[in-house]
Symmetry: C2
Subunit: 338 residues, 2 copies
């Protein structure tokens, strides 16, 4: 009985803005959830103390005791070093360089901590309880401000040999001299085209070139560029031709990255998540986006794969990070007991 | 003792022209080797019977008996289906479609057969006894008539979920409208640029455009296009500027494919093999090729990876196919005994 009640896990999704904490049972169901601001500027140690407090608060909220929890999974943005449990130079957490976050969180929380990269953790959430349940080879592309990637092969996350696995957002899709700049300082990366930033930049260029579009007054009145993707989505829903064209172009750029991923890894399932899926299955624009991705991808991969590969939207949404982190903690506990 | 003497393995590299057969001991040393023509036109069953005879001939040549051999590894070109042990539509073996080659070879040879894709098998040879010994994440790119790829992660070949893993030769490196055609019927694939075919095509175009080069009389006098890459190599060794330019361009194209592979998988080691490495470490042109590949790749991947990733030439050469197949047979036997 004691062993039975211990099969709960806490998952943490550490982001530059918020820390999301979920308590999950052995079946991957969320029993309690809370979110707390990261307050990056207060530094890593302060945040880790608050994170430990949030873990205990969430456990209480779930009606559990710390002794009911077998482990904590911490999903963190990169760069990080998984074997040592340390951050390296996380670009969204300035000033937190080289902080030994895994062991410090374990110390402050009194619980064992499994350290994970957020991209692979999100993919593991889809493998555990989402749209990629039990898939032999799963790739998740998360289209947000950037393009994240996670790979799950035979039920295990592939983290790469330097904790950098799944950085397919930085795969080259344009090798020409005038390819777009990626935030990482190189040209032509998938992320420079298929992320929210890429969509915003392309849209602003169209508007500045005076294309006839209902986007013009809205884009011109923007306060920040990151408001633009939502405008594209909304105007596409209303039928604006340019907005629809931008959605379809984004799908085509994405397919260029997908084709190489598919020929490299031959996954059984490729999932798309994140805000830049234009509402996913729930909206006309989201369905058009996926349809275009499918057409552009399937027509350009080996027929044998085109006939068999599953392409779909992810289903764990914003919860992917903490669910996947909890799932990886669960996997580590279970495998250490074998 | 009986168990000890059984630790030998036969590896077969089935190609469109020749069948290579090697007998290896448990340390991966080749005890005997022979090669026999494939004679594709006689059909799969005939070839499989001759393959079984060649296995026994090679065992005898090694001074062993069939009872000294624990298993046979058969590396085959694709397309194939690993779980069922069957060929699918192997483009280099016309007329052999859907032949159940694994079980038939086992029947004819009286030995257990492990079925493998030739690209991954070659990578496994490098992991077992070659330049990638024990690497946690290994990618081998084989630059020949086409561009083959094999991936070994945590000591296991990744075959893909439809036996198509490691087809990175068909990754997109040029998404423009006028990208080069690949033999597979699509445009812009790595193979269309960095294979022998790609080098030949580009060279012929330069010569036809009347570039000043010592290649001109030789290329014009060619009987077949596949003679051209060797001419490029020989003229580059003599210092011809255009030939050197073609070598460096090939390196740059290759790096475009490598950058995406590295960001996707974060390998510890990326190896290059095959005839289109221009003599490898042994020649000035081969060294220039690798140096250019390194420069073009390292300057365009994440710094953390650029500082750590090993890029080198493969060392098992033409033996990679049968060594890797034998190694995979060994791994299957060992793991089935656990």
């Amino acid at each position: 009985m004691a062993q039975e009640t211990k099969k709960n896990y806490v998952g943490i999704d550490l982001g530059g803005t918020n820390i999301k904490v979920g308590v999950l049972n052995d079946a991957g169901e969320t029993l309690a959830y809370l979110s707390t601001p990261t307050l990056v500027e207060r530094g890593a140690d302060d945040a880790t103390k608050r994170m430990a407090a949030a873990v205990h608060e969430a456990i209480t909220k779930a009606g559990l005791k710390p002794s009911d929890v077998a482990g904590v999974g911490l999903g963190s943005p990169g760069t990080l070093d998984l074997p040592s449990g340390s951050l390296v130079r996380p670009s969204n957490l300035p000033g937190w360089d080289f902080f030994p976050i895994r062991d410090r969180l374990s110390e402050y929380s009194g619980l064992p901590v499994t350290f994970a990269h957020d991209g692979p953790a999100a993919a593991f959430a889809e493998y555990w309880v989402g749209a990629g349940k039990g898939e032999e080879g799963l790739i998740l592309l998360t289209l947000g401000t950037g393009v994240g990637c996670g790979i799950v092969l035979n039920g295990h996350v592939w983290n790469g040999t330097h904790s950098h696995g799944g950085e397919a957002g930085h795969n080259l899709i344009d090798t020409s001299e005038n390819a777009r700049w990626c935030k990482c300082g190189q040209r032509g990366h998938l992320e420079a085209y298929a992320s929210a930033t890429g969509v915003a930049n392309r849209t602003i260029e169209y508007v500045e070139a005076e294309f006839k579009t209902s986007l013009t007054p809205r884009v011109r009145a923007r306060k920040r560029n990151d408001e633009v993707p939502k405008m594209v989505f909304e105007e596409a829903e209303k039928g604006d031709e340019l907005a629809i064209r931008i959605v379809k172009e984004t799908a085509r750029y994405l397919s260029h990255g997908m084709i190489s991923l598919i020929h490299t890894l031959d996954p059984s399932c490729l999932l798309l998540g994140g805000a830049m899926t234009f509402g996913g299955d729930e909206t006309a624009t989201g369905r058009l986006f996926l349809k275009t991705v499918e057409e552009e991808t399937r027509s350009r991969i080996f027929l044998h794969l085109a006939e068999r590969l599953r392409i779909a939207y992810a289903t764990t949404g914003n919860a992917a990070g903490y669910i996947g982190a909890a799932g990886l903690a669960r996997q580590e506990r279970e495998e250490s007991q074998q």
